[in-house]
């Protein structure tokens, strides 16, 4: 896929598969669910072209398990789903976090809860991405707002997943997933591709070394005998209930994300210097916001645009950095307000935070955003 | 697994006390009443001379706690299996 020189029309879901393959993905296990099914269909067709493998499992729980199993076998593996499937995968996602097994999970969000409207866009799974699985755990979740960015963030998701031995989410939505844009896919050698660190053969192998933030990961079949479990485990992966080891393990799992915020948190902003109102957005909604902010600025309104491509870990510091220089933050979301509270936390009362929420299956239009800007500025 | 009771030095029956949970299976399965439970509730060879080396105690121990020394192939296989 990477050898395409000229730009061409790509669907968002298609760009996701292209990004995965460019990142070196060679295994997909999934289950059909609107609006993500194109990802499964393309993975089924494309992966064998580069020696990869595809399997449609009996359900999403099995899919997530197979993704982890394949990664343990040395594959770069991913899966795609939507709300209902994302719910079913949560337990095994938690396993991948605890056992530190690299994998990428794409959630093409649709209107929920429950079956909701399968073909309608929404951004209602933000908190599920953060706390869907039980227990304290860190999360990395990206939210692309264009077809090209879907490609780029998929590559980044695989790279971070391999580097930090952490499952990484891509929170697409039905709009970005199904829309088509003319995009240029970078040439393969323009891309930085990261692979998991491998242990040295002649040394004792610690898959969960307490001295390291992230340990090398040996693949099954490479002759290293060790244990992988979802139980709290010691440095060799064997079960332990020792409270000191438990604290060290869970703290390390959190630390390995917190120490890389710089690299993980990606944002875009313009018109911030004189902004008395900043619109904070992500995903498909950011497309309408971009248009609305441009229209507002053309009418001489001091409005800033702040978009985050990284939902988790949330860009608290970046937001609090400009919060005291502006009066109002407007947070449009296609849900009842899921990053709204996070923005408030980042702002610490230094500015007013106003929501603009649609949860009826329709996009928030630029005019609606402009209307709200005029109302609250 | 049966062996002809030939005249030979008695089989060496080793019991790893820290692994034995006193379940009594070896005692129940020994066809020559060689084994019994001691005061601590651990298996031991009460009549080692009666042992015919049938190896049932070793195979039917759920905790790998009893093994037959002097049983040449058994000894090799035991070490191979346990200590790998």
């Amino acid at each position: 896929m990477g050898q395409i020189e000229k730009t061409r029309l790509f669907q968002g879901n298609e760009a996701c598969v292209a990004g995965a393959i460019a990142a070196g993905a060679n295994f997909y296990a999934g289950y059909p669910i609107t609006p993500s099914t194109e990802i499964a269909e393309l993975a089924a067709r494309k992966l064998p072209e580069t020696g990869g493998k595809f399997i449609q499992m009996e359900d999403e729980i099995g899919s997530m398990a197979a993704v982890i199993g394949a990664s343990i076998g040395g594959a770069k593996s991913f899966t795609a789903t939507s709300g209902p499937g994302f719910s079913l995968k949560q337990e095994n996602i938690g396993y991948a976090m605890m056992a530190e097994i690299p994998c990428v999970i794409v959630n093409v969000q649709r209107l929920g809860p429950s079956t909701g409207i399968a073909t309608a866009p929404a951004q209602g799974d933000i908190m599920q991405a953060r706390w869907g699985t039980h227990g304290d755990h860190p999360v990395i979740a990206f939210a692309p707002s264009s077809v090209r960015e879907t490609f780029d963030l998929t590559v980044k998701a695989f790279n971070l997943s391999e580097k930090l031995r952490q499952p990484v989410f891509i929170l697409l939505d039905e709009i970005v997933g199904h829309m088509r844009e003319n995009i240029h896919i970078p040439h393969q050698d323009e891309l930085e591709i990261i692979n998991r660190e491998k242990p040295l053969p002649d040394q004792p192998y610690k898959p969960y070394d307490e001295e390291k933030e992230v340990s090398p990961l040996a693949s099954f079949g490479e002759g290293f005998s060790y244990n992988i479990t979802g139980l709290v485990h010691d440095e060799y992966g064997f079960p332990t209930t020792d409270s000191e080891k438990t604290k060290k393990l869970l703290s390390r799992l959190q630390r390995k994300i917190d120490n890389h915020l710089e690299e993980i948190i990606l944002t875009e902003e313009f018109g911030m210097d004189d902004a008395s109102l900043v619109v904070v957005s992500y995903g498909c909604t950011a497309r309408s916001v971009r248009q609305a902010v441009k229209m507002a600025r053309k009418n001489g309104l001091p409005v800033g645009f702040f978009r985050t491509a990284t939902i988790w870990p949330f860009p608290y510091e970046k937001i609090s950095a400009f919060a005291d220089k502006t009066k109002t933050l407007l947070v449009p979301e296609m849900n009842m307000g899921q990053i709204f509270g996070e923005v408030e936390r980042a702002v610490h009362g230094q500015a007013r935070v106003v929501g603009l929420n649609r949860f009826d299956g329709e996009m928030i239009t630029p005019d609606e955003i402009l209307q709200k800007i005029l109302e609250v500025i | 697994m049966g062996r002809l009771a030939k005249i030979h030095e008695p089989y060496e029956i080793n019991v790893k006390n820290e692994w034995c949970k006193g379940c009594g299976i070896c005692v129940g399965f020994c066809s020559r009443n060689v084994l019994a439970m001691n005061a601590d509730g651990k298996a031991y060879a009460q009549h080692p001379e009666k042992c015919v080396g049938c190896n049932k105690c070793e195979i039917y121990c759920p905790d790998f706690a009893i093994s037959l020394g002097g049983l040449t192939d058994g000894a090799d296989r035991k070490d191979k299996v346990i200590s790998r």
Partner: protein, 250 residues
Amino acid sequence: MWCSGCGNGLVTGSLLRAIENLDIDTSKIAIVSGIGCSSRAAGYLNFQTLHTTHGRALAFATGLKMVRPELTIFVIMGDGDAMAIGGNHFIHASRRNIDLNAIIFNNNIYGMTGGQASPLTPQGEKATTAPYGAERNFDIMKVAVATGATFAARATTYHLPLLDKLIEKGVKNKGFSVVEALTYCPVGYGKLNKKGDATAMLNWYKENSIPVEKCTTVDHEGKITVGIHHHQAAPEFVEEYTRRTQGVKR
């Protein structure tokens, strides 16, 4: 970690003897287990061991087998692990005939959590969640054969030499091989149903089992049939997938 007299150690011993007799290069062996008493065996074994989530061992193993077909993979599960919560993955691994060796430690209950009923608790028997007698149970051999497994065999912890052989034969079968090892739970199931101690339960197996080959002639109602219940080769899933996607070009 198993209770005194628990049969899980016996099945584990049988698995180890089978592995040794097959003389497989240990770097080519992986043990994938679910959650429950028997699945903790993985933590005691010096191979590449993967202790997964409850009911999902076969799905994890499917992903591993697809990318590492050269591995001999044993999937250790309990009866509830494999046939209750794991039922959907069991029937599809069986349908696919993927080369995995499912070793089901069937102790007729959920042991780890203290003896609750499972789909394999004999109807009418007692369990902590079936104080008035368990509901209808099914037969793993029938489910395995009906869903496509190409090798299905059963033994009990009394029939250990047979169990060793069945595991070995299962490994040699290129496809989904199910070996059900009936292993009593003396603490949960045994006490509640007054089956006596471990030795008594082993002898109960001896008295109440019958070689499956003999079943046609003799009425075996209520008896445990042991031996190979089904063995018929069929194309193996990963080999088929690899063959069909061979030479696929961009």
